[in-house]
């Protein structure tokens, strides 16, 4: 159905990085995520697709406990990272988030210089021993975020002064700079032109060599291009989860088929 469906079926059978069982999320009385079971494999790109408001961002935020910052949000069920329950009281959410990085749906650069935006994470985690090393980390992150050429001459300019798409790439670079083991990306290309999109997709593909990436996207083509696994959410339920090629060519659930062919959503 899609020519762009990922042809390289080289999905190595790797171990599970994150496993979620029976996850429920409530915002006050609203039941936003219902009974979701999902296994996110290491060194794999997993795409979350589904109509707006179906709970993709909510579920994504469960994976690094960002929902803790929302007072009314309650998460139930079991989510394990490398076999360890991340909602266990012993787990430090701060360390968890250093391992499971996140790019947010809305770009949120800090009101600091471009350089300081990128250096923020590495500084906090003591990743650089000196200025030269930090410079190197910043440049590498900006290059991977496909924004180096645009900002290399104005690293001291405020990050908030960039265009929407540039801010989005800055936030991607910022998240990559801390070298997380899992990267959660919430619609990272929503404001990008095709060239920047292609560059970000290249980055995702590169990250897959070492890390596991979860990407939320509204573009079916993008999901098909970059991911090996796809999860389709609908009204808070995980309707279907499987190999991307199979979901896009031969979905089991009629709702999945309607969605990817553009009939619902």
């Amino acid at each position: 159905m899609y020519d762009a469906v990922n042809t390289e079926q080289s999905v190595q059978q790797t171990e599970t990085k994150i496993s979620a069982r029976n996850v429920q999320v409530y915002y006050g009385d609203t039941h936003a995520i219902k009974d979701v079971d999902v296994d996110i494999a290491d060194k794999t790109v997993t795409a979350f697709i589904g109509p707006s408001g179906c709970g993709k961002s909510t579920f994504l935020r469960c994976l690094n406990r960002m929902n803790d910052t929302i007072d009314i949000c309650r998460v139930e069920g079991r989510i394990e990272l490398d076999g360890e329950d991340i909602y266990d009281p012993k787990v430090d959410p701060v360390q968890l988030r250093a391992k499971v990085g996140m790019v947010f749906q809305k770009p949120n650069p800090f009101p600091k210089s471009i350089y300081d935006n990128i250096a923020y994470g590495p500084r906090i985690h003591g990743m650089a021993r000196n200025k030269a090393e930090l410079d190197e980390i910043v440049e590498r992150a900006l290059r991977r975020g496909a924004i180096w050429d645009e900002v290399k001459d104005r690293l001291d300019a405020p990050g908030t002064g960039l265009s929407g798409g540039q801010q989005q790439r800055l936030c991607i670079a910022r998240a990559v700079a801390t070298e997380p083991e899992v990267l959660l990306m919430d619609e990272p290309c929503s404001a990008l032109d095709p060239i920047a999109t292609a560059q970000v997709e290249e980055l995702i593909d590169e990250l897959r060599q070492n890390y596991s990436v979860v990407i939320v996207t509204h573009s079916m083509q993008q999901a098909a291009r970059v991911s090996q696994k796809t999860a389709f959410f609908h009204l808070g339920n995980l309707v279907e989860f499987g190999d991307t090629s199979q979901i896009f060519t031969n979905p089991e659930d009629p709702r999945t088929e309607s969605y990817i062919t553009g009939r619902i959503g």
Binding site: M66, R97, Y120
Partner: protein, 487 residues
Amino acid sequence: MPVFWLALIVLALAAIGYVTGRARALSSGGGNIRNLHSLPAYYGWHVALMVLVPAFAIMVVWLLVQPVMVNGSVSGGLPEGAVAEDTTLDLVMSDVRRVAEGLDAAVASGGMTPEEAQSSTIDLDGLRDRLGAVGVALGSEVSPEILNAAQSYRGLTATGRFWMTLVVLLAAIGGFVFAMRRTRADFRARNVVESGIRALLLGAASIAILTTIGIVLSLVFNTIEFFRLYPAADFFFGLTWSPSFGGGSELGILPLLWGTFYISLIALAVAVPIGLFAAIYLSEYAGPKVRAVAKPLLEVLAGIPTIVYGLFALLTVGPLLLGIFGDEGLGWMQAGTAVMTAGVVMGIMLIPFVSSLSDDIINAVPQAMRDGSYGLGATRSETIRQVVLPAALPGIVGAILLAASRAIGETMIVVLGAGAAARLSLNPFDAMTTVTAKIVSQLTGDADFASPEALVAFALGMTLFIVTLGLNVLALYIVRKYREQYE
């Protein structure tokens, strides 16, 4: 006719105008709202505004101007000898007004006929008692000149009132007729009402601004008067403050400015860290339940009158500090009233001010900013130090400057907590005083109002005004600059 009734009649006319204007518009549109340019209520409002605005404007202006005119004309008519050696024209005129008031009251209570009150043959000897009986006590017997002036005062006032009533009513009716004639289906009542409302709001704003200008001008004129009597250089650079009402005062502002500055500095040193940390705790750490209790409690602190803080300084903090730093303790402090006492208490007063302003500013930092930092694995305090505070810093600086200008203007705590000695000293346990406290003491003494000892209060006030104005402008500028960042 009393003003109250006049106002009521105009209001009633406006109400009638609303109803008839609305009805007329409807009927001219053939009863169909869609034929009208505006909604029917706008036609009603148009008529009502046309009745109200000119009538009330005339009334207000008339009420303000008439007493001045009457006063002028009566005092101009006073005979040569009416102002005796030992009084002034102002005092005589206030006697005249009082007698006139007394006559009014006597007529109103039925103790005197209107004709008798205006007759020149009225019995002068019993007049003081008769006026006293209706509640208007006079300082001396009424002289014929004063009675005469009072009678002409009454006459002029009555005439003025009559004409005012007439003109106001005419204006109201004129507005009514004019507006009704304009009311047709295609008349743009909505636009007219819109500009009417604009004019109303503009009026309110200009009254606020004009009063401010008036206050400033009165300060300026009195200050100029002061500098005519006392050299400005001695005032601004003098190191001693020792007013003596017999003359030969030294009125140097520096000891007072130093006291003000020193006390404010201590107050800010207390208020800023505590207030800021409280704000950070409340906005970033406290759960919703704690916040729901703690925020109102802090705001109660802000509602305590400063005189109560003054008592607290005098009765609690002063003795407490004296126990530690006084002769029994470290021996630095002579009495409970000191810069430290006033500064600490003023700091306590400013805590809720700083904390509630900073809390608002910290809350205005978008949650997305914090999320971004948490998402990179930062802790709460790292996020606050490196993201939230830098983003909120300009606003917080603005809040601190506003707090400073409050500290500078504070009086009661200083009067009760810091003592009254004007002194240039570095020891925070010495008694000192501030500009505001001295303004009070200069004006409440028995000095002649025209002497430099009293007029200096205006120069002090003017200096203070300029300092706090500068601080406020700076604060507003910084706060505004900060706002632009997120919008």
